[in-house]
């Protein structure tokens, strides 16, 4: 079974029902970056609250990176990579506070992504993607309000010969509650409506901005690229495929999942689809 971001609601249900997901393969299930972040975070949360059953369900997926990400969230490190300056096709940054995004480790992580994705060459497209990844992470930490209160958030990237993926995940309150900090978005009645406000009206929770800089940047920067964007908040997901002149939107409602996630896939050729992390 290939576990993608689309199957995250099923994983959430399986964890809730304590239903394990055994794999016939010795290497476990194939897992995409977006779902790997979800599994790693849930493994960490389950072990933190000493929930052995939930931990076992997550471990039953059998992917070694799940426990590596979980450990990252539990130890004092910020990234999976141990060398700040060496390129690596997969890395995850653990965001604990807003100050983390002002750290050198965060800049090194973003530079690793850029250098890995561009193969060391100058690429305007990769530069734009690196900027967008930083904006996405910035939006996540903003949702946690003022100060440096701890939050659970992960930023990951995965670079392959055929393209790249980056994903930002948190276990916070979702887009709707975040937007409702502002009076003009108090009327939002669902996560679906909140996602629509973000996508169609550039809604932002930032009091000092009339429209969402991060997502606005994302939509304008990525329009020339062969990509797919998945926004999830609670039970609602918007899947936006780049048609070069506009974003074609598909909406999905599913089992509720805590927090929010933004995943972007870029492929050099062919349909932008998720790839397994080996």
């Amino acid at each position: 079974m290939f576990i993608t971001t689309a199957t995250i609601p099923d994983l959430e249900r399986a964890i809730g029902q304590r239903r394990r997901l055994p794999s016939k393969s010795a290497e476990g299930h194939a897992v995409s970056l977006g779902s790997l972040l979800y599994l790693g975070m849930n493994h960490h949360l389950a072990t933190s609250r000493q929930d052995a059953e939930a931990t076992a369900v997550v471990e039953s997926v059998g992917h070694p990176m799940v426990t590596a990400i979980s450990s990252l969230m539990g130890n004092g490190h910020r990234t999976l990579a141990t060398d700040d300056f060496k390129t690596t096709p997969l890395d995850v940054f653990n965001v604990r506070s807003r100050d983390d995004l002002k750290s050198n480790q965060w800049i090194f992580f973003c530079d690793r992504f850029r250098r890995t994705a561009s193969g060391g060459k100058q690429s305007r497209a990769i530069l734009a993607l690196a900027s967008v990844m930083r904006e996405m992470a910035d939006n996540v930490v903003h949702g946690y309000g003022d100060g440096v209160a701890p939050c659970a958030a992960l930023v990951g990237y995965h670079v392959t010969p055929s393209g790249l993926t980056f994903s930002v995940l948190d276990n916070g309150r979702g887009f709707r509650a975040s937007l409702q900090q502002r009076d003009i978005w108090k009327h939002l009645s669902s996560e679906n409506a909140a996602l629509d406000a973000v996508v169609s009206k550039q809604a932002t929770s930032r009091a000092d901005q009339s429209s969402g800089g991060g997502f606005k940047q994302l939509f304008s920067s990525l329009l020339d690229l062969n990509g797919l964007l998945v926004l999830r908040s609670g039970p609602s997901s918007f899947i936006l495929k780049n048609e070069h002149t506009h974003w074609k939107r598909r909406e999905v409602e599913s089992h509720p999942v805590p927090g929010a996630q933004v995943t972007y896939l870029f492929r050099r050729a062919g349909d932008p689809v998720e790839e397994a992390v080996s």
């Binding site: 002002k102 050198n104 800049i107 305007r124 690196a130 900027s131 910035d138 903003h142 901005q209 800089g213």
Partner: protein, 194 residues
């Protein structure tokens, strides 16, 4: 007339955390705090603050929104900070700066610095046509009051209060410096204070 002010040139790529990409409101707000602090430390009421973008490859709107807030009219006791930009290394970066400034109806004077003196280059961003004409008056013909501009253009329908409003707008945008002279304000381009 010599105006007491000081020039500070700040290489944005070297502000911590040092990076060639300036992205995100978090880092923007952090850099804005550093810029305010540097302006405060010099102890002058007028500061010409040059944003040196040498080595910067990309700059996002979220970042810039935080940084331009530094140039809003100052609270009592705070220095008036006049912004400039220098060392724009690529057309892509210029486009990003232009797009942002035009989107928020602002303009910043690009300059080159030679021997501590400003040489004005292009005006980045957008000014409405009347403000642009007024700014051109100041840059081409030197310091002026609203009364002088009104007198100079007596054939135009604009009254003195219209000229005054345009000059105040340039001051609010920190493109023009103003100094009290009796009951009037004398305005001059902010890059040309001495």
């Amino acid at each position: 007339m010599k105006i007491k002010g000081i020039v500070i040139q700040i290489p944005l790529a070297q502000l911590p955390p040092a990076s060639s990409i300036l992205a995100g409101a978090e880092i923007g707000a952090s850099h804005a705090t550093m810029l305010r602090q540097r302006a405060l430390e010099v102890g002058q009421s007028t500061v010409q603050l040059v944003l040196d973008v040498d080595g910067i490859e990309s700059i996002t709107a979220s970042y810039l929104k935080q940084v331009v807030a530094v140039f809003e009219p100052a609270a009592p006791g705070q220095p008036e900070i006049y912004p400039f930009i220098t060392n724009i290394g690529s057309e892509d970066l210029r486009f990003e700066l232009e797009s942002f400034l035009s989107g928020v109806d602002r303009a910043i004077q690009e300059v080159t610095l030679r021997d501590g003196r400003f040489e004005p280059a292009s005006l980045l961003g957008r000014l409405e046509s009347s403000a642009a004409d007024t700014y051109r008056e100041l840059t081409e013909r030197g310091p002026a009051t609203a009364a002088e501009l009104h007198e100079r253009h007596a054939s135009m329908a604009s009254g003195q209060s219209t000229w005054n409003n345009r000059l105040v707008r340039l001051f609010e945008l920190r493109l023009a410096h103003r100094q009290r002279a009796g009951r009037q304000w004398i305005y001059r381009p902010a890059y040309n204070l001495n």
